[in-house]
């Protein structure tokens, strides 16, 4: 058992460090997101609640990973919107993560209640 201990320790270290790097890659920085959201704000507002037109969605409080999915879909063309395609094509993965982090942390959209 004692001979196994060092290799167990090494294995655990590898697992934990790879998990934390995964978590880091998935997470955006909401402060950087606010900085990068200047263009977004002109239509969606600072918090994502202030839509310029009612046909634009609110973003505030939306799930972070859904926002990432939406922006990547606009970027790769699988979701089609002429305006959003133009903005999304200029965004890197980290930009998308940061923007999603900002808008998902604002107060706004609600879950549906199941009664």
């Amino acid at each position: 058992m004692n001979r196994l201990a060092p290799s167990l320790f090494i294995a655990l270290t590898i697992i934990i460090s790879s998990l934390s790097s995964l978590a880091h890659a998935a997470g955006g920085d909401h402060r950087r997101g606010l900085e990068k959201s200047q263009v977004c704000q002109s239509c969606h507002g600072r918090t994502g609640n202030e839509s310029l037109q009612p046909s634009y969605p609110k973003l505030a409080g939306q799930h972070e990973d859904y926002l990432v999915h939406a922006l990547k879909s606009y970027r790769d063309g699988s979701r089609q919107n002429a305006v959003m395609a133009g903005f999304a094509e200029n965004l890197g993965d980290q930009d998308i993560a940061d923007l999603a982090a900002w808008y998902s942390r604002q107060e706004g959209l609600q879950d549906l209640d199941v009664e």
Binding site: S51, Q53, P54, S55, Y56, P57, K58, G61, Q62, H63, E64, D65, Y66, V68, H69, S78, R79, Q80, G108, L109, Q110, D111, L112, D113, V114
Partner: protein
């Protein structure tokens, strides 16, 4: 005579105006199916994996355009296209009015 015409046109248009807003009570009944995915906190879409979007308090016009895009197939998602295919224009107005009303109740 002219006034009679104006009144008649206004009366005729009244139901149009109210139906454009949608009926949240009727929408709540239609939305029962939606809650199977959208009503469960942190429920995940898979392949690809992401959280099913929150709808409560969303803008009605956006919801209407999203549902119609799914119905027409210009926005693609197998489950949402199948669901939207069953909805009439009035159903879409009503169910989106219900989603809007959730935001109003909580804020």
């Amino acid at each position: 005579m002219r006034h009679t015409w104006i009144v008649a046109v206004m009366i005729a248009l009244t139901p149009l105006a109210s139906s454009a807003q949608g009926d949240p009570e009727r929408g709540k009944v239609i939305a029962y199916t939606c809650t199977g995915c959208h009503g469960i906190p942190f429920y995940k879409n898979v392949y690809p994996t992401y959280s099913v979007p929150k709808l409560g308090g969303q803008n009605q016009e956006y919801l209407v355009s999203a549902l119609k895009a799914y119905r027409e197939g210009t926005r693609r998602h197998a489950t949402m296209q199948a669901q939207a295919a069953t909805l009439s224009d009035q159903d879409i107005l009503d169910v989106s009015a219900y989603f809007v009303s959730i935001g109003e109740n909580k804020s």
